[in-house]
Amino acid sequence: MNWSDIISNALTAAVALNAAWFALAGIGLNVHFGYTGLLNFGQIGFAAIGAYGVGVSVTYFGWNIWIGMLVGILMAVVLALLLGLPTLRLRADYLAIVTIAAAEIIRLVARSVALRNFSGGSNGINGFSSQFYELSPFSASESYKIGPFFFSSGRLLFVTAVTWVLVVLAVGMVWLLMRSPWGRVLRSIKEDEDAVRALGKSAYSYKLQSLILGGVLGGIAGMMFAIGTATVQPDNFQPPQTFFIWAAMIIGGVGKVWGPVVGSMIFWALLSLTENILRPMASANYSVFGIFDFNTIMEGVQIGQIRFMLVGFGLLLLMVFRPQGLFGDKNEMALDDN
């Protein structure tokens, strides 16, 4: 593999469906954590509930996909209420515990044998997305190459484009909201809830609103991911995914409108870069000083893990040298509460 291919692959990864739905989920997480200070460690649970919402609506209830998407959004709202109503009065860590548990519960329940007819068990759900692709102007059998970006089918191009449009809409919405008095209350809550209460605002109600908004964005992200892969797989919604979304948000800059978008593009580009650089090394018998043979320490399967290690190391460096993320404001970061 030559360098132009490697670069082209990385650029494609930066705009691919994965980056797009991560960006959308990240924007939701940013509403939670970046603006309101809510510790949501179960964003993937919102994505899962959105994905299952649409999948089950179409395959089990036989509704059309647009109603299914509404159901998915509604389910995300319900999940936010279930998680938020009991915990948002309590200290911040309660929400963290509940979200991380809920995300796993959703996945385990959905993949359980008892619910095989309903949510497909461990096989997941297939065959619910065709209605969506009927709208596609691109040919399903053709692959598309637009500049350095490569899409293996017109369907993929279509769903990716739609997801990016949603990302832009979400960014616009968050931008409008966060410079409004509503956003001002959220940002104040992140700093000091009591100060907000003392001025006559219900911190609880705003935290709930924030949890719902971010959760719905996570739900829509999961839906687009499911439609894009034409399947809802329970094991696509494992806990590490939540932390990848966190990583993407932190790379871009917490509390910055474009932070999660740029962050997830970089995250996926980095994964693609490391993969494409490491893989040929592993197969080509490189060695360092004749001691380390790359192909013994990195067999094909291990490359997946090693690239995450490298990305993790990169994150570590970022935290040391630019803790505010790429978009963050250093001066704002330096204002410690005192």
Binding site: L85, P86, M173, L176, L177, S180, P181, W182, G183, R184, V185, R187, S188, K190, E191, D192, D194, A195, V196, R197, A198, L199, G200, K201, S202, A203, Q209, L213, N331, E332, L335, D336, D337, N338
Partner: protein, 428 residues
């Protein structure tokens, strides 16, 4: 002191702790707050007169801040009632005072009816063989459990009745939810369990809401607004945004208005109001800086200005002058003195007796959680108990009165000692 021309509303009020006032805006009665064995606040009775400046004094740890927290809903007392502007703050709704037996019966009946209603809806909707008996039994067990749970809860037996009926409603709703979501499928009972949990949760929530105290933010909305001893400003918001946050009834603080940008004109009015206040509090220069860059004294000023943005009826200031430079203190005091002119009541905690004498119309003295003296500043300053408890042995000594030669001698002695020590060090 307020303008001398107006008759003093507190004239003729006796100088004894807990004395009734002609027009009280706050009435605290039997307010008790202890932390484990330590009694922080134990106020038998206190009334705060409307439209005057009341100072709350007392030594460190007397319970002043805790009392502020209790009045404004930032902390909850173990006993007692608070009335603000004629409104009880400890109970949102007055519940009929039934006796134990009557409310027990009503409570139990209420929850039973709820669960049976649930079972009835079930029996109608469910075409499986005969599940309704199971549901009835479960319903009964749950209802009794609920009864046992609330029987001894604080808030008296009348809470039980409210709780029972609200759970009943909640459960009926829960069952209805189950019927609607999955009328015939084979995991009806799961849905119903979820429905009951949600219904029961709503019931408990409603019970606590209806019988519980008003939360702090609602008390603030009613016009009683406080500052904190440890200043709270929002460091990552600009000074101007800190001010804007104080404005009440903001359209833009509602989600849809925020999204559809229908708040711009109101924001302009709010900004204008904020600018006037910032000017008065000498913060205009810092208007667009992060509040985190302000000095300690400036933060005090900003916090107080932010409180005034809410158009409060009662302003509660916890040590507003602490850390503010003397020149600014004077202007701050002037702002405080002006407040009663438009009917605002001021309660403030202060350790500096000069300040207390200068601006307050009435002084309340706390020690070890109790109110130990009340009266106009001229009288309180002379009260022996106040002198003993608060001002300490050297209360009437000011710096000038101390013997100057004595001081000079002391200083000389100190210097000598230091020199000796320095020499010793050199020898080694």
């Amino acid at each position: 002191m307020t303008t001398e021309a107006v008759a003093d509303p507190l004239e003729g009020v006796a100088h004894v702790p807990g004395v009734p006032k002609p027009d009280p805006v706050i009435i605290a009665d039997g307010v008790l707050r202890h932390f484990g064995g330590l009694i922080a606040v134990d106020v038998e009775h206190l009334e705060i007169q409307r439209g005057v400046i009341t100072a709350l004094i007392g030594p460190n740890g007397a319970g002043k801040t805790t009392f502020f927290n209790l009045l404004t809903g930032f902390d909850h007392a173990q006993a007692g009632t608070r009335v603000y502007n004629g409104r009880e703050l400890d109970r949102r709704y007055e519940i009929p005072q039934w006796d134990q037996a009557k409310s027990t019966v009503i409570g139990l009946l209420g929850s039973l009816i709820g669960f049976m209603l649930g079972a009835f809806i079930l029996a109608r909707a469910d075409d499986q063989s005969d599940p309704s008996l199971t549901y009835l039994v479960t319903g009964f067990v749950v209802a009794v459990g609920v009864f046992l749970y609330v029987r001894n809860k604080p808030g008296g037996p009348q809470s039980l009745a409210v709780y029972g009926t609200s759970t009943a409603l909640g459960t009926a709703l829960g069952t209805l939810f189950a019927v609607l979501v999955s009328p015939t499928s084979n995991w009806f009972s799961t849905t119903m369990a979820v429905g009951w949990l949600i219904g029961g949760g709503l019931g408990i929530g409603f019970w606590r809401w209806a019988t519980g105290p008003l939360p702090s933010y609602e008390i603030a909305q009613l016009g009683m607004v406080r500052t904190f001893q440890l200043t709270k400003v929002l460091a990552r918001l600009t000074v101007l945004n800190n001010m804007r946050l104080g404005a009440q009834n903001q359209r833009g603080e509602r989600f849809l208005s925020a999204l559809f940008q229908t708040w711009k004109t109101q924001e302009k009015e709010i900004t204008a109001k904020a600018d006037v206040l910032l000017d008065r509090f000498l913060l205009s220069k810092m208007r667009d800086e992060f509040a985190g860059t302000l000095s300690g004294g400036q933060r005090k000023l900003l916090e107080m200005a932010g409180v005034l943005m809410t158009d409060p009826e009662v302003v509660m200031l916890d040590e507003p002058m602490a850390g503010v430079n003397p020149a600014l203190t004077q202007s701050l005091l002037e702002h405080v003195i002006e407040l009663p002119a438009d009917g605002t009541t001021v309660v403030f905690v202060e350790h500096n007796m000069d300040v207390v004498r200068e601006i307050s119309d009435w002084v309340v003295m706390m020690a070890e959680g109790r109110i130990i003296a009340e009266g106009p500043p001229s009288v309180i300053g002379q009260d022996q108990r106040v002198i003993d408890a608060y001002l300490g042995a050297h209360h009437d000594e000011t710096l000038e009165e101390l013997d100057k030669t004595e001081l000079a001698e002391e200083v000389d002695q100190d210097l000598d000692e230091q020199e000796e020590m320095a020499e010793e060090v050199e020898d080694e």
